[in-house]
């Protein structure tokens, strides 16, 4: 356990520079976006006021300014997409850099006097913590940017939104910030299961190289089949036999089976088949 925590801390530190850059990029881009968009809106408002149009006329014709005016632009979504893509690349990079760096660090990692599966767990935990960290920080940023909006746009032209409204007015934010705890476990459970399966696929490739890519794809395919088997049965042989809640429970079980299979297989590969 102690070694797992040390390894996780080590992995987190290795990613810290990129991570801080991502956080900085998100905050800076979203803040600049808010300032530019709100100033542009306010200059339009001032222009209309100078032309003698009433405030009511302006809010009807120009519309009010709300947080959604920012979330629909690249200023807001861009850094989120960049962060997601970076983390997706990092799922692969977190393993491959140990083999392909200037110095082959994988020798050292595999010779640490601890269960090798701890490497797997430490790398997975790093990804999970990074994802959850970014998601939480984005919430804080939304609150800060909302306060900034109140400073930049006067009450009369502003439509205030709660955090919940901001999130649910924007399609894919609902995936990142689910509406219920069950939906949270579904979304993030599937995400983390995918990370586990991808890690196992990477280990297949690292053990068997070219042939391993095929094994990895096969493993991912079988995992997917196992995971969605309740749905497949439901729509084919069982003819809508289960209630939705039963399907949910069955998929939670198949999800756990996939995660356990992934951990077991990775444990086997790291101990018996891995090569530097």
């Amino acid at each position: 356990m102690k070694n797992f925590l040390k390894l996780t801390n080590f992995e987190l530190n290795r990613f810290s520079k990129i991570y801080i850059t991502l956080i900085g990029l998100t905050l800076v881009m979203q803040t600049i976006g808010m300032i530019l968009l709100s100033s542009s809106y306010m200059s339009d408002v001032e222009e209309q006021l100078a032309m003698g149009n009433s405030m009511e006329w302006i809010t009807i014709n120009l519309g009010t300014f709300s947080f959604s005016s920012l979330t629909r632009t690249f200023w807001f979504g861009g850094p989120i997409i960049i962060a997601i893509v970076t983390l997706l690349i990092y799922v692969f990079f977190i393993w491959y850099r140990d083999w392909f760096g200037k110095n082959t660090f994988i020798y050292r990692l595999l010779m640490i006097p601890t269960a090798r599966i701890n490497l797997f767990f430490a790398k997975a935990s790093t990804i999970f913590l990074m994802v959850l960290g970014l998601i939480s920080l984005q919430l804080v940023f939304i609150l800060l940017e909302n306060e900034l909006l109140k400073i930049l746009v006067s009450d009369a032209f502003r439509e205030d939104q709660s955090l919940k409204q901001i999130i649910f007015n924007f399609d894919y934010m609902g995936v990142l910030y689910p509406n219920s705890i069950i939906q949270f476990f579904i979304n993030y459970g599937i995400g983390f299961m995918a990370v586990f399966v991808t890690f196992t696929g990477i280990l297949f490739e690292r053990c068997y190289r070219l042939k391993g890519i095929l094994f990895g794809i096969l493993f991912a395919g079988v995992s997917l089949l196992i995971f969605i088997s309740p749905i497949l049965l439901q729509v084919t042989i069982l003819n809508e036999f289960f209630y939705p809640i039963e399907i949910f429970i069955l998929m939670a079980i198949t999800g756990l089976v996939v995660i356990s299979g992934s951990i077991w297989m990775s444990h086997y590969l790291l101990n018996k088949k891995i090569r530097v």
């Binding site: 040390k6 290795r14 200037k102 110095n103 660090f105 640490i112 006097p113 601890t114 090569r275 530097v276």
Partner: protein, 229 residues
């Protein structure tokens, strides 16, 4: 004792090790000798469970390698196994964090012996100094067995001399050392036991002192006989 028992290893269709067996004792320096590509590094990797073998087994003090074994045996590969952005001090801290067998007093002794600055980044070190740091990270572990892969390869004469001095010092005394080389001349006088490899098999395993006394031959003489036979 390290026992390598009839190990075979294939890379694709190519059989790199074809039933290799030998033993390496504590308190002795055992040298695996052979030309490049003969499988010396693969044997060391196999001993450390860093590559799977197709058959045979490796025992360390009668046991198959397991996680605790890495407190008892260590491997110094031919390239340093620490991140380039680390300072020497960071690398030592990493070792101290993960190994109970890390001996900081010995590490400090090695730092001054090799005249290394702990604040230097690994990426900024010369080839010779990188090899010395690599050596330091292995030697500062209180382990019974040390495996070294080509420790003299591609480094300057003075660094070679310094590293060779380590073998005759208390830093290595009482430990079992397995070393690979394709240039025997630098360390011939240090070797207790030689294992000559070719085409994935052990051609001859002998005690250097016995051969010197009984047959009046050096290791190079035996190599000449074996390879030219």
């Amino acid at each position: 004792m390290i026992e390598v028992k009839d190990i075979t290893k294939k890379f694709g269709r190519k059989k790199v090790l074809n039933g290799v067996s030998f033993t390496a004792n504590k308190g002795e320096i055992t040298c695996l000798i052979g030309i490049n590509g003969v499988g010396k590094t693969t044997i060391l990797n196999a001993i450390m469970n860093l590559t799977p073998i197709n058959s045979g087994e490796v025992l360390i003090d009668g046991e198959k390698i397991h996680k605790e074994s890495y407190e008892k045996i260590t491997f110094i590969p031919d390239a340093i196994t620490m991140l380039p952005q680390m300072r020497i001090a960071d690398a030592m801290q990493f070792m101290a964090d993960f190994y109970q067998s890390w001996n900081q007093v010995r590490a400090d002794e090695l730092l001054s012996f090799f005249k290394l600055d702990p604040n230097d980044r690994i990426s900024s070190l010369s080839k010779g100094n990188t090899a010395k740091v690599n050596m330091l990270l292995g030697l500062a572990l209180d382990v019974d067995y040390l495996l070294m892969d080509e420790p003299f390869s591609g480094i300057d004469i003075f660094s070679r001399e310094q590293i060779a001095d380590v073998f005759t010092s208390h830093l290595v005394e009482d430990r079992g050392v397995v070393i690979t080389t394709h240039e025997i001349s630098d360390i011939e006088h240090l070797i207790d036991k030689a294992v000559i490899l070719n085409d994935g098999v052990v051609l001859r395993e002998f005690n250097a002192e016995d051969v010197r006394e009984n047959e009046g031959k050096s290791i190079i003489d035996v190599m000449r006989e074996v390879y030219q036979a």
